[in-house]
């Protein structure tokens, strides 16, 4: 399952106490359902901010955004949380696994939040971790796993509920080139097999080039989209 994303004139700004700063300046974005797109840009260009808006974690100051026909800005905090749980999977640069929980429990967490059956959730989480080659790491906590392993667990957690949209913020930014490539291969493979829409923010032109479309963000302006 996948969703389409449509953004029109998306603006995000804030007051820093002295002046009004615009991080996103009228971003227009059309992503088709099932598409895999990359967003590249230098630090401070607004990539993470855009991803936060797409992830219903923040609200735009102006413009209109629709994800699968839903405008996240119209949702209450509780509704936005339910929307994230149902629709989105996040992968962060620093894996952001819960350190008090094992790899298996981390992957089970979205299912438990969604009030899915615990034994089904367990079965599904175990199968996912085995699929990414971590079948012997189920009971390890993040502190007992390597960076690449943690990111693979984070990938499993993001895909645990088969979300229609995967948002990845520099998913390989904290890994060495080999591990980064392996994780990215895994991400592409998992997303393509599930047919999910995916938006990947990355610094790495080589990895970005492997996505179906490429957007460049500079100083809050989406400078143009090109077919990779």
């Amino acid at each position: 399952m996948s969703v389409a994303i449509s953004a029109r004139g998306l603006v995000k700004g804030y007051h820093d106490g002295l002046r009004w700063l615009e991080v996103l300046r009228g971003v227009d974005l059309e992503i088709e359902a099932g598409e895999l797109v990359a967003i590249v840009g230098p630090s401070g260009s607004g990539k993470s901010t855009l991803l936060h808006l797409l992830g219903a974690l923040d609200r735009p100051t102006g413009g209109r955004l629709e994800i699968g026909g839903v405008d996240p800005a119209t949702l209450s905090r509780g509704q936005a949380a339910a929307f994230r749980n149902r629709t989105l999977g996040f992968v962060f640069q620093f894996h952001q696994l819960l350190p008090d929980f094992t790899a298996l429990e981390n992957v089970m967490m979205p299912g438990r939040i969604a009030r899915r059956d615990p034994s089904e959730t367990l079965k599904r989480a175990r199968a996912l971790l085995e699929e990414v080659g971590l079948g012997d790491r189920l009971d390890h906590t993040p502190g007992q796993l390597s960076g690449g392993e943690c990111q693979r667990v984070a990938l499993c957690r993001a895909l645990a509920l088969e979300p229609p949209l995967l948002l990845a913020d520099e998913p390989t930014g904290n890994l060495d080139p080999d591990n980064g490539r392996a994780v990215f291969d895994l991400l592409l493979d998992l997303v393509q097999r599930r047919g999910s829409t995916a938006v990947v923010v990355t610094h790495n032109p080589e990895l970005a080039g492997r996505c179906a479309r490429l957007f460049a963000l500079d100083h809050g302006v989406l400078r143009g989209a090109s077919k990779a």
Binding site: G78, N85, Q96, D100, F101, T102, M108, I113, S119, H140
Partner: protein, 401 residues
């Protein structure tokens, strides 16, 4: 790299509510943080000590008050009926006897007088009764009419059965030779049990003797209803049968004492409850610290779709867990100590000052329920106060590094 832990059912696979599972895990990991652990222990131990102290104090007060009430109520008429001055006493007595529930009744005249024995004078409250000795004189109730003193007074004055006792009324009789004191002399018929009343020693004697001492005082009626609750139910029936009569039950007669006892218990409860309140503040500190240290993880849960109220419920559950453990331990300690102190009569008091030689402990189910309920409510309130901070948590702020 540390070796993997042996495989077991993950916590999250248990079919319990997620906030409970999260609370259990955060409670377990909080133990690894020295300061959080210290604050959690302080809160739990504080709540336990507070609950134990509340239970002990309530039990001691309940035991003491039950004894005092028992003593006072034993010498208080269950119902006291005073008919108007112009009422026919015979007719009133007949009406009273016809009220269903009146098991027995006496005519009574009372007043202040002096007891004179072997040259010593003791101020006393004289109670003249009709028929046999009323039940307000435990130990002598139902005995043949005569003059009865408390066993203590008789012992103090070396009086034995048959010893002559003189009672002098403060009301003189006016004669052509001037006011003459009224006095009667009767042999001691026996003794009754019980400590001195607030007014001093009591003397029971036949109604005719009291009438001589206190004329023209009119007698009132004292009614035995067969029980304290029955007496309260009977009072309106008597008032209906005897229009114009003043009807007072043991409750009204001892209103001041009963109010003072209830007030004493309430004030002591509130005072000792302060310990639990202070312990609850430790709980606020422990939970606040834990929430601050888990800010990032809570933000990550937020990105996964955990609603703020789920996170709130998590820390409420953790607060309830700590409070529940503290309250249970305190309740066990309090009940155990109260039982031990009572069984071993460990805490002694001077018997001539109080009317007992040890502090009795009595566990009242209502006191226990109130203590446990209020302690849990306070701790949950504290947990809610600390946990509501998670409602303000912004996932973006939490995950931004």
């Amino acid at each position: 790299m540390a070796p993997p832990r042996p495989h077991r059912l993950p916590l999250l696979a248990r079919p319990w509510a997620l906030p409970v599972l999260l609370a259990l895990r955060y409670g377990a990991t909080a133990r690894k943080q020295a300061f959080t652990r210290l604050l959690s222990w302080l809160a739990m131990v504080g709540i336990a000590l507070g609950v134990a102290a509340l239970i002990l104090v309530q039990a001691a007060l309940a035991g003491f008050q039950a004894l005092l009430k028992g003593q006072v109520l034993a010498r208080t008429p269950q119902v006291e009926v005073t008919v108007p001055a112009d009422a026919d006493l015979e007719a009133a007595e007949a009406s009273l006897a016809a009220v269903p529930g009146v098991s027995s009744q006496w005519r009574v005249i009372s007043g202040r007088a002096w007891l004179v024995t072997l040259g010593r004078v003791v101020p006393v409250e004289v109670i003249g009764y009709s028929g046999s000795v009323p039940p307000t004189f435990p130990g002598a109730a139902g005995a043949e009419p005569g003059l009865y003193l408390s066993a203590r007074l008789a012992r103090l004055h070396g009086l034995e059965r048959g010893s002559p006792v003189e009672v002098i009324s403060p009301r003189p009789t006016l004669t052509p030779l001037g006011p003459q004191p009224r006095s009667i002399r009767l042999p001691l018929a026996g003794t009754f049990e019980g400590a001195a009343s607030d007014e001093g020693e009591r003397v029971a004697l036949p109604l005719a003797a009291a009438e001589r001492l206190f004329a023209p005082a009119r007698p009132r009626f004292e009614v035995d209803a067969g029980g304290l609750d029955e007496a309260v139910a009977l009072a309106p029936l008597i008032a209906g049968a005897l229009p114009g009569a003043e009807v007072r039950t043991w409750r009204e007669i001892n209103r001041g004492l009963l109010f003072a006892l209830a007030l004493e218990k309430r004030i002591t409860f509130v005072a000792v409850l302060l310990v639990v309140i202070v312990a609850s503040l430790s709980l606020v500190a422990a939970l606040s610290l834990l929430i601050a240290s888990k800010k990032v993880e809570l933000g990550i849960l937020g990105t996964m779709g955990a609603e703020p109220r789920l996170l709130l419920a998590t820390f409420l559950a953790l607060g309830a867990l700590l409070a529940g453990l503290g309250t249970s331990a305190g309740a066990l300690l309090g009940v155990g100590l109260a039982w031990l102190f009572d069984a071993t009569r460990l805490i002694t008091v001077p018997g001539d000052v109080f009317f007992v030689r040890h502090v009795p402990f009595r566990l009242e189910p209502m006191d226990l329920a109130a203590t446990v309920g209020l302690s849990l409510a306070l701790a949950l309130g504290a947990a809610l106060y600390a946990a509501r901070r998670v409602l303000l948590l912004d996932p973006i702020e939490a995950i931004r590094r």
